[in-house]
């Protein structure tokens, strides 16, 4: 038996871990929310109005709407990624909080599920805040339809939380995370249709883009902003679930090797 590679055993015991992170966050909620939200909102409004006034409709809608829909997914991705990279790494490696929890009747499966659900929760807030701006500016086609964006955002947070935990598992220090941002996150932002339609890319690159999780996220979010039913819903949902779950499973095995050898 190789105990490092077994499937996760999920249980409700992850809740105290989630709660721990929530209680810490609550202490600094205001600056945390501002820090998380101000940046994407400024980009969205600045580029949306500034660049948007020069542009004709993009993807069949005003540029601001196009960009807002992309920003919902992008901002959620960033929030989840930052949480499981920098914050989880602090708790695991620097503060040794995970070690302390593992001395209680908790398993690494519980701890990392707590971290993952927490990252998804925190990024949900980021996504919903952008959604609130969309509501406020009336950038949507059908209000009721935009409510579906909320579960989509939670799913996107889960997806990127799971993926980021893999980086957390293998990273020797904070500096290492720059590789992930430079090689994975930033290219995705440019290839997945946040700022401009994927159809503007060369065909070969479009082929790559179709496999990237952020593309699936945006393919769900953008129609819902405009007020139409997304195409291939099942495909996009499954893709996001698979990326997130695989990330969690691989991260769990790697972290087990790191902490419980």
């Amino acid at each position: 038996m190789n105990p490092l590679f077994r499937l996760p055993r999920l249980s409700a015991r992850f809740i105290p871990v989630w709660q721990r992170n929530y209680l810490v966050w609550k202490k600094l909620a205001i600056p945390s929310i501002l820090g998380n939200l101000a940046d994407p909102m400024l980009y969205m409004l600045g580029l949306g109005y500034g660049l948007g006034s020069l542009l004709p409709d993009v993807g069949g809608m005003p540029y601001l709407t196009f960009l807002a829909a992309g920003t919902v997914a992008y901002s959620t991705m960033n929030a989840a990624t930052f949480e499981v990279l920098y914050s989880s790494f602090s708790r695991m490696h620097v503060q040794r909080t995970w070690d302390a929890i593992l001395n209680a009747p908790m398993t690494l499966d519980d701890v990392m599920l707590g971290e993952l659900t927490w990252a998804a929760s925190k990024s949900l807030l980021s996504g919903v805040a952008i959604l609130a701006v969309i509501w406020g500016l009336g950038l949507y086609g059908n209000f009721w339809m935009t409510l579906w964006i909320i579960p989509v955002v939670a799913l996107v947070g889960f997806c990127f939380g799971g993926m980021g935990l893999v980086m957390n598992a293998v990273s020797p220090s904070y500096d290492f995370f720059l590789y992930y941002f430079t090689l994975v996150i930033t290219p995705m932002v440019l290839l997945c249709g946040v700022f401009f339609p994927v159809s503007q890319l060369p065909a070969a690159v479009q082929g790559v883009s179709a496999w990237l999780p952020l593309t699936h996220a945006i393919d769900l979010a953008r129609p819902l902003v405009v007020g139409t039913v997304p195409d291939n819903i099942a495909l996009h949902v499954i893709a996001l679930l698979v990326y997130g779950s695989l990330g969690y499973i691989v991260a769990l095995a790697l972290t087990r090797r790191r902490l419980l050898k």
């Binding site: 105290p16 871990v17 721990r20 209680l23 040794r96 929890i101 209680a104 009747p105």
Partner: protein
Amino acid sequence: MLKVRGLTKKYGDTEVVRGLDLTVRRGECFGLLGPNGAGKTTTLRLLLGLIEPDGGSIELAGIAVPQHAREARMKVGVVPQMDNLDPDFSVRENLLAYGRYFGMSKAAVTARVPELLDFAGLASKADAQIAQLSGGMKRRLTLARALVHDPDILFLDEPTTGLDPQARHLIWQGLRRLINAGKTIVLTTHFMDEAERLTDRLAILDHGRVVAEGAPRALIETHIEPAVVEVFGEGLADWTGQHAADLCQRFETVGETLFCYTSTPDIVIDALKHAPALRYLHRPSNLEDVFLKLTGRDLRD
């Protein structure tokens, strides 16, 4: 309370724990001593079911580990070697959060907090941040945290390493109270006085194996001559060459000191009167002498 049979753990080709047998009875304070790298911390991690053994069996509080490690950990409190208090929480919040990891309700933990703060001598620091605490306070809080779920057995990994004498005495006092309250304690330590003072029985580990086990006094009586004369000063080498073999039952030279182990120290001291350049220290032998005899004097790191 704890029964370990034939425990082994390998990392690659290195056997860190090699066929370890241990028995700790209920209400006993048991010490695990050994040089760095002897396998003490690995053993504790194995006992908690945090890592999987390559062989042997562990029964902790009547529960098989690692098969039912989670259930076993419900009955154990752990004070780790490195402080891992939650720096994002205050003193009180640390206890509250830790209780939740044991599935305790908020009411149940809240009810226990005053008693735990009292035990740790931190009642006035309940709302302090962790960074504001001294090293000794952090250790005491870690000890209180390990008691949050009222465990039957406590594992302490070098509980007083890095503390000043005053802080060590406070920790010892706390541990005494726990022993008197009937808790079972397993502690690792480098400090022989700590082991002599606190433990009922102890095992000396070296290279992943128990090399001696018993009550501290009994170990001293069985393994070593009752007295030591430490000799040092000008001309030691000559004196050692001429007299040591005749006068001491056993001797060794470490650096500039001769350790002369004997049951008749008066003979050695009489002989030393003829060598006024040499100075000496006569003392009863202690656990450290046993430890050094059994594990050698080489540096391990």
